[in-house]
Symmetry: C2
Subunit: 344 residues, 2 copies
DNA sequence: TTGTAGGCGTTATCAT
DNA sequence: ATGATAACGCCTACAA
């Protein structure tokens, strides 16, 4: 009863057929009779037979498994994106291995190695903040594993890329701030070697240029990674003789840092200071004042990313996408933190 | 150069040794000379050789992989626990496959099947809210896969269990509410077939009994799963002629629902209504008033859970744990939402 | 429709 | 210290 694993041979013996027939029956191969197929399936569940994926993978050279590497799974954007990826993989009967890089380049490399060992068919990756080189990505390709980047992508790597209309998004967020009467809009950005953050900055700069207003050079600060850093910068800027009257940031956590500093100093938001975040984290509608943000449609983004593998790569419908770039439209969510004209 | 996968045979051929020797060298087998071992390693990286885990697993019968099944990866408790699990697995050179059940019993079963296919050595699971039967858990054991339950466990299943001191935690939360002068403390609970929620309710009942106060039977409501349901119940209770003056809940999201209802009706928190949550979600210190909650030490809990596999099961140090239960102590975090005496 | 045989890449056993 | 060989469980030509 217990002891060794049940194999197709066990099922075959019980039924008096060959192992290969059992294999075919279980896989619904056309060259099997309805009747026997049913019998085999029944016996298999009866014996509690379970496929050994490792054996199947070894034989077939494909694992029907997809790997995902993200900086953190507990940020709304990533967990939602993963939910989307999961859904599509599930529909296509593929498994998913999720790895976190914890924003570390070294861990990201290790994760990729693991996924290569696991023989995944495809790796979906959103790069860590530290990542500046791309040899590890080329290593993926060298192992004939498909590669798709999303959100935090690296240019100059030959792969599909899925991301938001980041430039447009931060352009309209900045524009909205100007429209609300804010004039001295500061910008807290991310690492510039990641294209997402470059694009978000470009959007801001575009709106700034268009507005005709000018701001001091130190109102633009890159490489802010968390709430604490954002708070430090905000505190410094707000202490200056001519402080900003609004902050546009590339993450809600940064915005939260700004908000906390403002509140601790009695600066009224949104009356004296406008704040605009990015990512539409779960906490944004809950806090007071509620935080304006950008909804990245992260679940759709995840679905699109996984979809590329199944639709464009597996089914070989490459021609439909010439530039190998998919852009997911964001949605501007205007809440209290940037709504100055609300009272007027 | 490209085309086929690099195997130990390729490395062996280049070096003029046998494949089995390469295998041994790569694994640091004692019956290999230092010198050749180095040579093999160098050549292997040079040729970009990567182990095929599937082949190794098939041969060894073990995958050095652990599976985790949780309801959702984007709840603080679970993502932190996973971070802990990940850390321990990493230290022990094991891979991790993460699956979400999305609180669905059917998906949970499917996830377990997948993990069995993947030949994982051990499954760490926190059950979905729907799960009432445990045949799928016994199926895991039938496949000679180790099983460890955490947080949301099912009794009567023969496995290690890791969970918080839930009863003590909600006991002290309730006691704190009484100490602050609240008298009519309502309780919003979870599905009673999951032991966690049973224990949390017991703690509340214990404190209530001890307090000597009595409350109407309808102040105790089980099976609340989300913010919306909590809000509905809170609205109903607060409309009654003799409403509760405090709510103790089994999740921060429930508490948030209560808080929003209170605020929309102009009920002052904490002056007129005390609120106490559970889980110490990221948003609890951010909202106004900040929400009192229970820190579950979820990362430690994850580490302990994975630790059991490596310490107690793999190394066979079972005797150290007689009851096969590990309890992780929580910490009471008292914030504004339950601090009525602050003004007095 | 059914069976036979061989091999996927690795490692354990046995031999040298 | 090193090599030959078989086996892990499955799938797929090929044969019948």
């Amino acid at each position: 009863m217990s002891g060794k694993r049940v194999t197709i041979y066990d099922v075959a013996r019980e039924l008096g057929v060959s192992a290969s027939y059992v294999s075919r029956a279980l896989n619904g191969h056309p060259a099997t009779s309805q009747k026997v197929r049913e019998k085999v399936r029944k016996k298999a569940t009866e014996l509690n037979y379970k496929l050994n994926s490792h054996a199947a993978n070894l034989r077939q050279g494909s694992s029907r498994t997809i790997g995902v590497v993200v900086p953190h799974i507990n940020q709304t954007f990533f967990s939602e994106a993963i939910a989307g990826i999961e859904e599509v993989c599930f529909e296509n009967n593929h498994s998913l291995i999720i790895c976190q890089s914890h924003e570390s380049f070294a861990i990201e490399c290790k994760a990729i190695d693991t996924l290569i060992h696991q023989n995944v068919d495809c790796i979906l990756i959103s790069l860590s903040a530290e990542t500046q080189s791309y040899t590890h990505l080329q290593n993926i390709l060298a192992h004939h594993i498909e590669l798709i980047q999303f959100d935090r992508c690296m240019d100059h790597v030959d792969s599909y890329k899925v991301f938001n209309d980041d430039k447009e998004a931060s352009y309209s967020a900045a524009k909205m701030l100007f429209d609300q009467g804010y004039r001295r809009v500061a910008f807290l950005g991310g690492p510039q070697h990641l294209t997402v953050f470059k694009r978000r900055k470009e959007g801001y700069l575009m709106a700034l240029r268009e507005s005709g207003f000018s701001i001091p050079y130190d109102f633009i600060v890159d490489d802010i990674l968390d709430k604490e850093q954002a708070a430090t910068i905000a505190a410094a800027l707000l202490s200056a003789p001519h402080p900003p009257d609004a902050f546009l940031t590339v993450s809600d956590h940064q915005s939260l840092g700004v908000l906390e500093v403002a509140q601790s100093r009695g600066v009224q938001v949104p009356e004296q200071l406008g704040i605009f975040g990015f990512a539409n984290e779960a906490f944004t509608p809950i806090i007071k004042p509620s935080l304006s943000s950008i909804d990245q449609k992260s679940k759709d983004l995840g679905k699109a990313t996984a979809g590329i593998y199944f639709e464009n790569i597996l089914k070989g419908q490459e021609p439909t996408l010439t530039k190998r770039e998919v852009i997911i439209k964001t949605e501007l969510i205007c809440r209290q933190s940037s709504r100055r004209t609300i009272a007027s």
